[in-house]
C-alpha cells in the first residue's frame, strides 16, 4: 500500500495467467460466457476503450474481439510493459446463427448476444 497514491495490492502484478501479447502490445481482456435456452451471451471487460475502436469478427463458431485503448496502459512486471490493445478470441460451444448476432457496449463492458442455430427434425412416436 503506497501512501502517496492509491494503489491496490501487488498480487495482480505478480501472477499473469493470461500470457498477454507483450510484443504486439495487446492485453487479454476478461470475458464471461452465459448460456441460455436459445442463445449465448458473451461479455468482455474493455475499460479504457471507446465504442468506435472495437472490432468484432466471427468465423464459424469463433468470436474475435480487438479494441484499441484510449491511451497507452503501462504495467510494471519487473520492467515497464506498454499495452495499446485488447485482443481475444473464443470459441462458442455450439452452432451459431451468425445473421442475428447483436452487440452492445455500455460502461466499458461489451455484450454480444449470439443466437443458437437450432434445427429441428421431427421424430415419429411409435
Amino acid at each position: 500500500m503506497k501512501n502517496s497514491n492509491f494503489e491496490m495490492n501487488l498480487f495482480p502484478l505478480l501472477v499473469n495467467p493470461y500470457f498477454d501479447d507483450v510484443e504486439n502490445r495487446a492485453m487479454t481482456p476478461l470475458s464471461h460466457l452465459r448460456e441460455f435456452n436459445t442463445s449465448w451471451e458473451l461479455y468482455f471487460d474493455l475499460p479504457l476503450v471507446d465504442k468506435k475502436d472495437i472490432k468484432i469478427s466471427f468465423n464459424e463458431n469463433m468470436v474475435s474481439v480487438e479494441a484499441k485503448l484510449k491511451e497507452t496502459y503501462f504495467e510494471e512486471k519487473g520492467k515497464i510493459l506498454k499495452f495499446e490493445y485488447f485482443k481475444k478470441s473464443l470459441s462458442i460451444p455450439g452452432k451459431i446463427n451468425d445473421k442475428k448476432i447483436k452487440a452492445k457496449f455500455q460502461n466499458g463492458v461489451l455484450k454480444i448476444k449470439i443466437p443458437k442455430k437450432i434445427t429441428y427434425q421431427a421424430i415419429k412416436i411409435d
Binding site: 500500500m1 495490492n9 499473469n16 461479455y43 471487460d45 466499458g108
Partner: protein, 238 residues
C-alpha cells in the same frame, strides 16, 4: 488524517470475491485512513505466497488498525477448504483484540448486469446489530443462497457472542467492479460515521479494472469451483 472515533472495537474484513468489491473497499479504507499494519494472519494450507513492496516483505493476509477500528484484508482468493481455517483465524484475532463487532464487505451478483447505482444490502447474524441497518437505511438481504467463505463466516459467528454484519454491494461478479466498491465504501463511511472521499478510486476506475484482471480471473475460478460443488442456485438476489 481522518480518524475513526468508535467507542467499541470494530473489525472490517475484505477478501477477493464477487467483483473484488470487498478487497477494493477495504484496501481503499486502509489507504484513506492511513492505517498501520499490526499483524499478519496465518492460515494453514494457504499456498506459500509473500509480497515484496519497497523492500518490505508482506504476508498475503494482513491486519491494520487505527484507534478502535481494525481491518483484515486478504490479497488471495480463499476456496471453501481454506475458508474454514481463515474464519477460525479471524475468530482467534477477535478474541486477541477483544473485537465487539465484525463488518464484512462483499459483492453480490445481480440479475441486472449493468447497474448505474449499485444498492447495498445487509445481512446480520445477531439481532443486536440490525439497528445499524435501520439507522443507515440499508435494506435487509431477504432471500437468496449464500455459499463458500461467506457461509462459513455466518455459520461460525452465529454461534459466538460477536455479531457479524455482511454488507453486500450489487455488482458484476465476473469483472472487477470499482463502481460497486465506491457504493460499499460510501455505505461503510455512514456506518462508521466517518467522512471518506472516494475521488481517488473514482479517478482510477478503468485502470483498476485492467490492473486486477488476473486476480479477478483467479477469484472467479475459485468461486466457480465452490459453485460446482454446491447443489443450490448461485448467490443472487431475486
Amino acid at each position: 488524517m481522518m480518524k475513526v472515533d468508535s467507542k467499541e472495537k470494530i473489525l472490517l474484513v475484505g477478501f477477493p470475491s464477487n467483483g473484488l468489491v470487498g478487497m477494493f473497499s477495504i484496501s481503499y479504507l486502509i489507504h484513506h485512513l492511513k492505517m498501520n499494519k499490526i499483524d499478519e494472519i496465518q492460515v494453514k494450507d494457504i499456498p506459500p505466497t509473500v509480497f515484496v513492496e519497497d523492500g518490505k516483505i508482506l504476508a498475503p493476509i494482513r491486519a491494520y488498525s487505527q484507534n478502535n477500528l481494525f481491518v483484515i484484508v486478504s490479497d488471495v482468493p480463499l476456496d471453501q477448504f481454506l475458508a474454514i481455517e481463515f474464519v477460525q483465524a479471524i475468530h482467534k484475532f477477535c478474541k486477541k483484540y477483544q473485537i465487539k463487532k465484525i463488518i464484512i464487505v462483499s459483492g453480490m451478483e445481480t440479475i441486472h448486469n449493468q447497474i448505474k447505482t449499485p444498492k447495498i444490502y445487509g445481512l446480520s447474524t445477531h439481532i443486536s446489530i440490525d439497528e445499524i441497518l435501520s439507522k443507515n437505511q440499508i435494506p435487509k438481504f431477504l432471500d437468496g443462497s449464500i455459499f463458500g467463505i461467506d457461509a462459513v463466516f455466518i455459520s461460525v459467528f452465529k454461534k459466538t457472542k460477536i455479531p457479524l454484519l455482511f454488507l453486500y454491494a450489487e455488482c458484476n461478479p465476473y469483472f472487477p467492479d470499482p463502481v460497486a466498491s465506491i457504493a460499499a465504501i460510501t455505505t461503510l463511511a455512514k456506518v462508521l460515521d466517518v467522512k471518506i472521499n472516494t475521488t481517488d478510486i473514482q479517478k482510477k476506475i478503468e485502470h483498476l479494472r485492467i490492473q486486477h484482471r488476473n486476480l479477478m480471473e483467479e477469484t472467479t475460478q475459485t468461486l466457480r469451483q465452490q459453485q460446482e460443488k454446491h447443489t443450490r442456485n448461485p448467490q443472487i438476489y431475486r
